[in-house]
């Protein structure tokens, strides 16, 4: 790459970063407002989860006042947004800082999601490329059908099937997560949840990558390279993947959202102490600050993933040899 081209690339990168940062902030605030209002509109409020069934109406009123739920919605929303400015996510209905409640589960969900994402990316790109290369042959058709089947299955079905096979029948892996007394989770306990979470999205990604790569393979310069007798690995690395990468990056960014949605389910079924279960429990308990806090954190992760994909797409065309 020539120095001038590199400088131009860096300039574009800087612009892209600034633009995305602004969009980033707007998206987070809009999502926070939406989630707050929607969660707050659900029938019932956090009081019912904090008092005991059959508590007197005076108790209920007192608790509602203590939780500040008698104040107008806009006031509570502004308070939550105000806290956001200095990274304060507010307090749960049970009086604990939202940040404390979600920090460890967030780390665990990022670990679970990160491992699943690595599988999605590696197998998705690897298998998708291979299938496109061997388009129309037996492997392509078999895996094509298999991936369709897997991507149609919800994560919890995949996880259940894996659990029956590897835990119940073969006895190779523990069925669910049982944390040790210090809260640690053994690696063997991670295998099934990670696979259960990753497989449907991997199947999806394989199909996207296969399509994107197949399109590029039709392009004249690739055909020329093929006719020139260049090595397949070199063609793929130098001429095919760079052009297919924008589509693949977008798909991978989308898969982050899919993986988080799946994590809510997988964590519950595998007893994995992550963020997904905190979110679903927060919704059930009508704990609006907790729900909003979780969604804000998740939005930040998602937006970062999409931003990364945007940056990749913004950079790629110029570094691709034509």
């Amino acid at each position: 790459m020539k120095p001038a081209a590199a400088a131009a690339a860096i300039g574009r990168l800087a612009t892209a970063v600034c633009q995305t940062a602004l969009r980033f902030a707007i998206v987070v605030v809009v999502v926070a407002c939406l989630v707050f209002v929607l969660a707050d509109l659900l029938p019932g409020d956090a009081t019912t989860g904090v008092v005991e069934r059959g508590a007197s109406s005076e108790t209920v009123t007192a608790v509602r006042e203590r939780l500040g739920l008698d104040r107008p919605r806009t006031e509570r929303l502004l308070e939550q947004l105000g806290g956001l400015a200095h990274a304060d996510l507010g307090t749960t209905a049970r009086g604990r800082p939202v940040r404390d409640v979600i920090s460890e589960p967030l780390a665990r969900t990022l670990l679970l999601g990160g491992l699943a994402f690595a599988i999605v990316a590696l197998i998705g790109i690897g298998a998708g490329t291979l299938l496109a290369w061997r388009s129309g042959r037996a492997a392509d058709r078999v895996i094509g059908v298999a991936s369709t089947v897997v991507l149609c299955l919800p994560e919890f079905v995949v996880l259940t099937l894996l659990t029956v096979l590897f835990a119940r029948w073969l006895g190779w892996l523990p069925a669910v997560v049982v944390p040790s007394s210090d809260g640690g989770v053994a690696i063997t306990m991670l295998v099934l949840p990670v696979l259960g979470l990753a497989l449907p999205t991997t199947a999806w990604t394989v199909r996207i990558v296969r399509g994107a790569v197949a399109d590029v393979l039709e392009m004249p310069h690739v055909q020329t390279a093929l006719l020139d007798g260049l090595q397949p690995a070199r063609i793929v690395a130098r001429h095919v993947l760079p052009l297919a990468l924008p589509a693949i990056a977008a798909s991978l960014a989308t898969s982050c959202a899919t993986l988080f949605g799946g994590a809510i389910v997988v964590e519950t079924f595998a007893n994995y102490p992550g963020l997904g279960s905190v979110l679903s429990q927060g919704v059930e308990a009508r704990d609006v600050p907790l729900v909003t806090g979780v969604i804000i954190v998740v939005t930040v992760v998602m937006v970062a993933a999409f931003a990364a994909a945007d940056v990749v797409r913004g950079l790629l065309p110029d570094v691709t040899p034509r």
Binding site: G44, V51, G54, R94, A175, E284
Partner: protein
């Protein structure tokens, strides 16, 4: 304080599972128990109890609802299990309704307004200091000052909690209350006087808290427990957020005992010869509430018709997978004073139709039956009930609400809805809590002077025969006019590996007392 006899200790925060397996009902009441012993196959053949070993227990709980203060709202079964083994309440559920725990005995005065509880000899905290009346008074006052204090210590004002001697405590009640020891079961955890951090406080129970993290705990045996020799070295408690995950763990051998798993998991465990299903009868009542105060079911003949139209055995089979028993529309089935002489109501479609027509019931309309998925079998029972009612021309549409919406919009208000209760060994509990006209939780909106009078007679009677007679008449009134279709009782269901012996067999919260358990390993 007529509206505050016993507190149901926890509201189920919502369905534990996101999916059809649903939540297990751990959202019930404090004082629970049952008189019957469940028949547990294979538990007696092992010879004398053996000491030692670690019991791995699974219990349901939610991270967002974790509560370490034994006087807090213990919505998680896991937290409640820990509190019940580390700390001690004055009384606990027993085979005769109430059993001693920290209090070894109790005595009322002549008119049943002043109760003296004596602290068990040798009762001491885990750090070795003896439990004194000062500790008990301080703890009960602390409990009384919580949001739910008035219902946890029913009829007792803060000033009514007094030290009698160094080893006994006097509780002064606003009104005569023969059932006070029963109503105090499980609630009255005692901490050392002046405790600032309850999560680090020493209890006086059979186990000491050795470690705690995110709802999971390790408990070690208290060798000096006043209640007798504890056999297990250790109990490891793992919190599960979902009942199917907990069932997977016990099926896969990762835990030894899964508490309160519900019928779906029990069915799959039954098919697995390596596991044992423990059935605890009369664990949960899940009646349908018909509103008496007004609306389409205000006419007593309509209520009788619905009670005659329901096919009870089919409900037990369909909604509870057969893990339950048929009931007779009277609440408090496991009470020794339960009116067993009332004829079991059978399905009688002709009579039901006649009653509906006498009452000029509008069969052209469709009525809503509101339910939740809070506990296994509840929503299923509503659907099945609605189907059965078609046979007498009553059209019901089942509306499923989530827990928060249900308690906001439906409970205590709607003409027809499902409810559930986990204390089923006290007829008085239901009279006081859900039926007399002054209670705040009159589920069917029943205002009946005769019932109110019978209730007052029962709790104020110093003579046992007079008390029983009043209770019987109150039950007869429920049977004839009440607002509940109590079609059946669900069993409590636990799953254990066969090596686990002498598990609790009481219904309700009797299940948390694991200090007699041993491992035949």
């Amino acid at each position: 304080m007529t509206d505050a006899y016993e507190i149901d200790r926890r509201r189920l925060l919502a369905g534990a599972g996101t999916f059809a397996l649903g939540a297990v009902g751990f959202g019930f009441l404090a004082g629970c128990g049952g008189e019957k012993e469940a028949s547990v196959s294979g538990s007696g053949a092992a010879g004398p109890p053996k000491p030692g070993g670690t019991l791995r227990v699974g219990a349901l709980g939610k991270r967002s609802a974790i509560e370490r203060d034994p006087h807090g709202v213990l919505a998680n079964e896991s937290d409640f299990l820990i509190a019940s083994l580390v700390f001690e309440a004055l009384t606990i559920p027993g085979r005769e309704q109430v059993a001693p725990r920290l209090a070894s005995s109790w005595e009322p005065n002549a008119d049943l307004t002043r109760w003296t509880f004596t602290i068990a000899d040798r009762a001491s905290f885990h750090d070795g200091t003896p439990v004194t009346a000062d500790d008990v008074v301080w703890s009960l006052k602390r409990l009384r000052a919580t949001d739910a204090g008035a219902s946890r210590l029913p009829g007792i004002k803060p000033g009514g909690i007094r030290k009698a001697t160094d080893r006994s405590v006097l509780l002064v009640s606003d009104a005569p209350n023969a059932e006070l020891p029963t109503l105090l079961r499980l609630n009255t955890f005692v901490l050392p006087q002046g405790t600032k951090k309850p999560e680090q406080a020493a209890g006086s129970g059979p186990f000491k808290l050795a470690s705690y993290k995110d709802g999971n705990a390790v408990l070690k045996r208290n060798d000096k427990w006043h209640g007798g020799k504890v056999l297990l070295d250790e109990i490891q408690i793992t919190m599960f957020q979902d009942v199917s995950a907990m069932a997977s763990a016990v099926l896969g051998g990762q835990i030894d005992f899964a508490s309160n798993v519900g019928p779906v998991a029990a069915r799959s465990a039954k098919a697995n010869s390596g596991l044992r299903v423990i059935r605890r009868p009369n664990d949960v009542s899940l009646p349908i509430v018909m509103r008496i105060a007004d609306g389409p079911f205000a006419d007593v003949r309509v209520r009788q018709a619905l009670r005659l139209a329901v096919d009870r055995p089919a409900m037990v089979k369909g909604a509870l997978s057969g893990f339950g028993t048929v009931a007779n529309d009277v609440m408090g089935v496991a009470d020794p004073s339960y009116a067993k002489d009332l004829a079991q109501r059978q399905r009688d479609l002709a009579m039901a139709k006649q009653l509906l027509s006498d009452a000029k019931f509008d069969s052209s309309k469709t009525y809503e039956l509101v339910t939740t998925a809070d506990i296994p079998g509840l929503a299923e029972s509503a659907v099945l009930f609605a189907t059965q009612m078609k046979d007498v021309g009553v059209k019901l549409k089942v509306v499923k609400q989530d827990s928060a919406a249900f308690y906001d919009k439906t409970w205590l208000k709607a003409p027809l809805y499902t409810t559930y209760w986990g204390t089923n060994d006290s007829v008085t509990f239901f009279l006081s809590k859900t039926m007399i006209s002054t209670t705040g939780f009159n589920e069917s909106g029943w205002k009946n002077k005769q019932l109110d009078g019978l209730y007052a007679q029962a709790v104020g009677a110093t003579d046992e025969a007079a008390r029983k007679a009043a209770l019987h008449d109150a039950q007869q009134l429920q049977y004839e006019q009440g607002g509940y279709v109590l079609w059946g009782m669900a069993d409590g269901l636990d799953i254990a590996r066969p090596v686990v012996k002498d598990l609790p067999t009481l219904a309700g919260y009797g299940r948390v007392f694991l200090e007699r358990v041993w491992l035949d390993a």
